[in-house]
Every structure is written in C-alpha cells, then in structure tokens.
Symmetry: none
Subunit: 268 residues, 2 copies
C-alpha cells in the first residue's frame, strides 16, 4: 500500500470502525447459526455448522485485519502518519481460500441432494473456488498491469464455471425444493453471485484514475461490504431455508418424525 | 471530544467504572438468555438466541469503549490529561447499527405471528431501525448546529414509523397474546420506547448550556444507562414473556406436547 500519501483521520477511522463492525457482525452471525442448530431438522444441521464456520473464520481474520490497520498508522489528533509497518492485505486471501469453498458447500448442503450428488458437487465447486482465489493472488500482489490482468483473467475461468454450476447445474435441483423455500434459495444464489461479482471490480480499482488514500479507503470498505453480504447475509438465508425446509418436510423441526421418515433421512 | 478542557479524576473514574459495569451486565445477560433457551418452548427459542446476541454485541462494544476511554486519558494522582488519542464514540453507532434492528426483531419474534407476518414486520422494522441510526450519524459527528439538526430531524422520520408500528401496527397482535403475557409485552414495548426516547435527548445535549467535561460525562453516563435498559432490561422481559407463553400454550415448556400441537407449532 502507498504509504507516502497517507489517508485522512476521517478515512482512517471510517475504515477502523468498519473493521470492528465487521468483526462483531461475523462473530454474532456465528453464534446465531450455531445456537440455532437444534431449531432445524437433522439433515440441515451440517449446513448451519458450516455456515457458522465461514463467519467464524471471517471474524478471526477481521480481528487480524483490524490490528494490522492499527499497526500501520499512527494517529495523533487529526494527523495520520504511516508507521512503516505495511498493512497486511493478504489476510483477505487467506480468509477467502478457506471461506469461499465452504460458502459453496453450505449452499449445496442446504439443497439436500442425494449423498452422491452432494459429494461430487461440493468437491467440484469447492476446488473451483480454491483455484479461483489462488489464481487471483499473483495478480493482486503484482506491481505491473500486465501480470495483474493475466492472473485476473485466469482466475475468471473457475469463476465462470462456478456461475455455470450455480445457475445451470443446480437449476434442476432447485425446482425440486419445497415451494416455501424456493425463493429463498434463489435469493441465496443471487446474493452469492452479486457479492462475488463485486470482488473483480475492486480488483480492477488500481487501473482506474482513483489514487492513493481514496483507492485504499474505497478498496477496504468495498471488500468489507462484499464480505458481510456474502458471508453473514448468505448465512442467515441458509438458516431461513433450513428452517422452512424442516417445517415443510417434517412439520416438527425438533426432528420427532415417524421412524420410516427418520430412516429415509439417514440414507441421505 | 473537546480535549482542551479535560475531565476531573472523579468524572474519569465514574465513567470508567460505568463502562466496566455495563460490560459485566451485558455479558451476564447474554449467558442467562442462552442458558435459558431450553427453558422455553421451541417457538420462542430464536427470540432468546437473538436477545442474547444483542447483549453479546453490546458487551463486545463496551469492552472496546472501555479500552478507548483508557487510551484517551492519562491519570496520575488526581490530574487527568488527554493523551491525544481521540475517544472513539463511533463504537456506539456501530453497535446500534447491529443491535437496534435486532431489538425490534426479538420483540416481533416473541409475539409469534404467522411466518409471513413475522418475516415482513421483522424486515420493515429492522430496515427502519438501521436507517434511523445511519441518518443520525452525520449529525453526531457534525461540528455545526445546522447539520446536527438536519440529520437529527431526518433520523426522526424512521423513528416515528417504528413508534407507529410498535403501538398501532402490533396492537392487534398484542390483543391475541395470552392474558398472562400481555402486560409484560406491553412493558417491553414501553421500555423500548422510553429508553429510545432518551437517545435524542442526549443527542441534543451539545445545544444546551452544558459545557466541556460535564457534557462528556453526562453524555457517556446517559447513553450507558439507556443501553442497559434497552438491551439487558428488555432482554430479561423477553425471557419472562417467552416463559409465560410457553406455559400458557403448552403447559410443558420442555416441549413434550401432543404431536398435533407440535406440528401446529412448527408451522409457525
């Protein structure tokens, strides 16, 4: 990050408070999802556990990002000076490498396909997501435009495959979902797509006419908003979907359904 | 905050201890609500989970506020001097942005309306609450009276909508509540209104003849008391309401009710 031109105190505190807000949001969502595990039928509990893992991992990284931000600047009154400690943006990539595959897996799990379908879709989508993040990184740290464009383009290939799977591959499965949950699943799919579509835009900011402090502020706030929507927003949707499907399929979310039902569930 | 005129040691420690007290209160209420989840019937458990989230988020922010207060002042003997590190009041707004919508959602959940009603009321009230906080912030950080009044007035519009919904919109639903819980729900509604009505008063303190250290102390103690009533106080009421409704509707709060009851419950 360009330390020669430092940000204003207002910009510093805006980003500072956004990071603290995001930590609180992610941690709160994690607790909500894990405490709500018993409020959905057994086949949907793993989806809540994993959705909570995504926000828990994000909470950890936002705490680190928050501390790294504090260490990078010295604020006294209204003057902000760079301390020379670089702000470690790599925490974001490390976070995405773990959370983005899990985000796709939670989407697959809440649809409750056959165990074979679940395994194959979760594996293929998870690997594509990891590949997308790994290919994006060399471009993120590159100093020249050529390299940035090259890796950015390469990482778009797995991204397009994921979009294809979400909108075509899972299309048939979505039609099989109970009426009451179908809209929510569709929202979750679109929310995932919309929030992810945002990352490439931020990735491209360095090519725009924006400069120095404004780029840094726009970039940090941009990634933060996208993370909240993609992780906490989708996580809450997963809970609502799991809850509605539990009611539609078993009536009793506590899971006190007839033995043959239970057996059928266990087979999945 | 005005650092030129610093507060007295007595004022410093009064606020310091109030922050520590509030952290303990919020954390204790969180544990109480979550540990009591199994003491209410299933339809009321999400209300307890969310009430506990509100106090958990507040506990986190009071810990940060406490640390920020310590960092802002240097105390030696009875002399207090500003360190130059600004006291980060924005933590309050960041907290409200998360907790105020959740506070309204916990009120809606404990009334146990149909899932459609719950979803629409929770969404509308949640968004209005977030809007109220967002519109208030530019005024809070403004240095001139004009800007403060403008944004203060704008944020009053969603506030009035919320009051309307609480007292008119939910009126019919409250009449449908079991006799034993109706008064408590009414109290929760009034406690919410009364404690929130306090924030605009504190917001207006800078226009009064109060000055410097006294304003700062009055403001911090004022917000702290309002937060305890609105979050911990209402949270405990939510538990009492959930408990009484569980008994009134199912007799057995453990949820061992006849299957048709269970199915009926789950549908909500």
């Amino acid at each position: 990050m360009d330390q020669s031109q430092t940000i204003s105190a207002a910009q510093y505190f805006f980003v500072y408070n956004a990071f603290s807000f995001t930590f609180a949001t992610m941690a709160a969502t994690t607790l909500f999802l894990w405490l709500s595990k018993s409020e959905v039928a057994p086949p949907y509990r793993t989806a809540l556990v994993i959705s909570g893992l995504v926000t828990a991992i994000a909470a950890y990284h936002y705490l680190r990002i928050f501390e790294s931000w504090q260490a990078a600047y010295e604020v006294s009154g209204t003057t902000v000076t760079g301390t020379g400690n670089a702000f470690n943006d790599a925490y974001r990539y490390v976070d995405w490498l773990l959370t983005v595959p899990l985000l796709l897996i939670e989407l697959v799990l809440v649809m409750r396909l056959s165990s074979e379908e679940t395994y194959s879709k979760a594996t293929r989508l998870g690997l594509a997501a990891a590949l997308m993040i790994i290919l994006g990184y060399p471009g993120e740290v590159a100093t020249d435009t050529g390299t940035r464009v090259l890796w950015g383009t390469l990482s778009t290939i797995p991204f397009l495959y994921i979009v294809y799977e979400l909108f075509v591959g899972l299309g048939a499965a979505i039609k099989r979902q109970p009426e009451s949950a179908r809209n929510l699943i569709n929202n979750a799919r679109w929310l995932t797509f919309a929030s992810w579509g945002f990352y490439p835009i931020v990735y491209m900011i360095p090519f725009t006419s924006f400069e120095g402090p404004n780029v840094e502020t726009a970039l940090q706030i941009g990634y933060t908003v996208a993370d909240i929507i993609a992780k906490a927003g989708v996580g809450v949707l997963i809970f609502l979907i799991a809850r509605r499907k539990s009611v539609a399929e078993y009536g009793d979310v506590e899971g006190n359904y007839p033995p043959q039902e239970a057996a059928a569930m266990a087979r999945h």
